[in-house]
Amino acid sequence: MGDIVSLIGKRLGYGLITLLVISVIIFFMVEMLPGDAAEAILQMGATEENLAALREEMGLDRPAIIRYFDWLAGAVVGDFGVSITSGEPVSAIIGERFVNTLFLAAYAAVIAVPFAVILGIVVALLRNTLFDRVANVLTLTSISSPEFFLGYVLILLLAVRTDMFPSLASLSADMSFGELLHRTFLPALTLVLVVTAHMMRMTRAAIINLLSSPYIEMARLKGTPPLKVIVRHALPNAWAPIINVIALNLAYLITGVVLVEVVFVYPGIGQTLVDAVSKQNFPVVQACCLIFAATFILLNLAADVGAILTNPRLRHPK
């Protein structure tokens, strides 16, 4: 037991270091720019005096290292500084939108995960049949399409032509949960299509890989019924790759969400990030990038930890 704890602890520490390195990259890449936030705020009205005054007020006259630790300490407790364009605190802009994004990702995940895993297993069992071929072509097409293509096709088919779902996912606070689900169905479905395709292919590959191992062949040869081969022999070893696939694809969801939010004008953090990028609103960009990177790392960590927990061999690294 102690083994597992120290192994997971090591993995967590490693993830934390990665996150730190990324925060350094995010912070100091912005620092490399000529000019600073004070110039960006004052723009044409900048004079030597008011620039200096604003710099002192914002703490920009201190060395970059100290400001970095300041920023990091703030970021840990959710304080990302002040937006350049509106002067609001960044956390106020991002907070609610982040919840919206998490909701959308969770909505998509709840549909996609069981669907994709089951389909992936079915396709793996029926490999090289017509069904498998069709599924292969369909998932490949779905992976190869840009997210916005799928999104607009869905809008065209389900919103414009048939009017079943709203094409824009505008939210308001007093919506009932059912209405919320209805409103956000199309963006969620777009994500589901992309993620399901990835997940199905990965699950299929993992299962096929497993089914070709010698002990499965042994079980077949000794006359075990097919269902029992799967349930008793294959499944216990399949959990590790399946958990891995799920976590990796949830991490993929995090980036896919940016484009989908823009297509459906969904009030989420991805939309905010894109706006901030085009307006060069750096505090917001930094905050969003850090949040996305942290979530991504966290999910990858979850994949590794899940793999360690379900695969005894990984607990005793050579």
Binding site: T18, M32, F148, F296
Partner: protein
């Protein structure tokens, strides 16, 4: 029962019987499955459902026929060695090659193919299609079809350039790490880990926010984001080659590092590298398309598929599919490259599945 339904089923059943009589199993099975599916769809969806199935099957058959003809054409014109390889290629790979060939033609000869200039305003905004404009006009009144043709050049060209940059960076770092070994190897490996743990789109957005949406920034950003994948592959492939006896022999001969990389390692690791280039291209192409969709890619007035979708998206809410054509063009090329890569991986690994 309209004439269409009668002719349709008569044709299908007749063709199936003919195939069965001639003992062509591979023709008979799809034809007869299509007949059965058509029965079901015809009962459920009526004539319109049948039309849909007929058109879909027709398109599929057209694609298959084109790929078959293109494969035979390539086999006929290529030298014997390459032709032998191609003869066994699956139809999907031939289809992929055909699509890539078409895009290449469209890209190279864009000024001759496109009826109008890239930025030439010839009609009112969103003018419908007429005999002058195949697909109508875009939001500024420029010919949509011409812009799609020119877009091949810009979008695919940028993606190719960026992929090559990523490849150059990743492959040279990987080869260097494999040959050099030691702490340099370790350091490059860790750096690759860190870059890979940042979501690619987010990293690209960060770079673009800082340095502005310029083409050179996109290329550098993509090179940094995607080089770790190439690095890892090259590192592992080259790592396997480096321990071979002939490398040892070359080292003992006193060959330099550059010679080792160029003459000994690279020729022995090209097959997986080419396949990786294809895969990498798909990722890069989708990322760049996403960026230009967000308005951060190739800047107007240059034609670019991603931004064309965004600019004309309003048409979609009127039920018009023209804005989807550039997006479909992106998807089609990515699928095509994937098909070819699948075939090459299959060939180089000799795996059955």
């Amino acid at each position: 029962m309209s004439t269409f339904v009668i002719v349709y089923f008569a044709f299908l059943i007749g063709a199936s019987c003919l195939a069965a009589y001639m003992d062509r199993r591979s023709v008979f099975m799809p034809l007869f499955s299509l007949t059965l599916v058509s029965f079901v769809v015809g009962i459920v969806g009526g004539t319109s459902g049948l039309w849909f199935i007929a058109i879909a099957a027709g398109l599929l058959a057209l694609a298959a026929g084109t790929s078959y003809a293109f494969r035979e054409f390539l086999v006929a014109i290529l030298p014997t060695n390459a032709a032998k390889e191609l003869k066994t290629a699956p139809l999907t790979a031939a289809f992929g090659l055909f699509v890539m060939f078409t895009y290449a033609i469209a890209g190279f000869f864009a000024p001759w193919i496109a009826p109008h200039g890239e930025t030439e305003v010839i009609a009112s905004a969103f003018a419908p299609a007429d005999e002058n404009m195949l697909l109508g006009a875009d939001q500024l009144g420029r010919d949509m079809f011409s812009r799609i043709v020119y877009g091949t050049r810009n979008s695919v060209g940028l993606a190719l350039l960026a992929t090559s940059a990523a490849f150059l960076l990743g492959a040279s770092a990987g080869l260097y790490a494999a040959v050099r070994g030691g702490w340099m190897d370790q350091f490059l490996g860790r750096a690759a880990d860190v870059i890979m743990s940042i979501p690619s789109l987010i990293f690209a957005l960060l770079m673009l926010a800082i340095f502005g949406p310029k083409i050179i920034v996109i290329i550098i950003a993509v090179a940094i984001i995607f080089s770790p994948r190439v690095f890892r592959l090259v590192r592992s492939v080259a790592g396997n080659v480096v321990v071979m006896d002939y490398i040892e022999a070359a080292k003992l001969r006193g060959e330099k590092r550059g010679y080792l990389i160029r003459k000994e390692i690279l020729p022995n690791s090209t097959a997986p590298l080419i396949a990786e280039f294809g895969l990498e291209f798909c990722f890069v192409f989708l990322l760049v398309a996403g960026l230009s969709f967000l308005g951060l890619g190739i800047q107007p007035p240059a034609a670019d598929w991603g931004s064309m979708v965004r600019e004309n998206a309003t048409l979609i809410s009127f039920g018009d599919i023209t804005p989807l054509i550039p997006a479909a063009a992106i998807a089609l090329l990515t699928v095509a490259v994937n098909f070819v890569v699948d075939w090459m991986l299959f060939r180089s690994s000799g795996l059955k599945e």
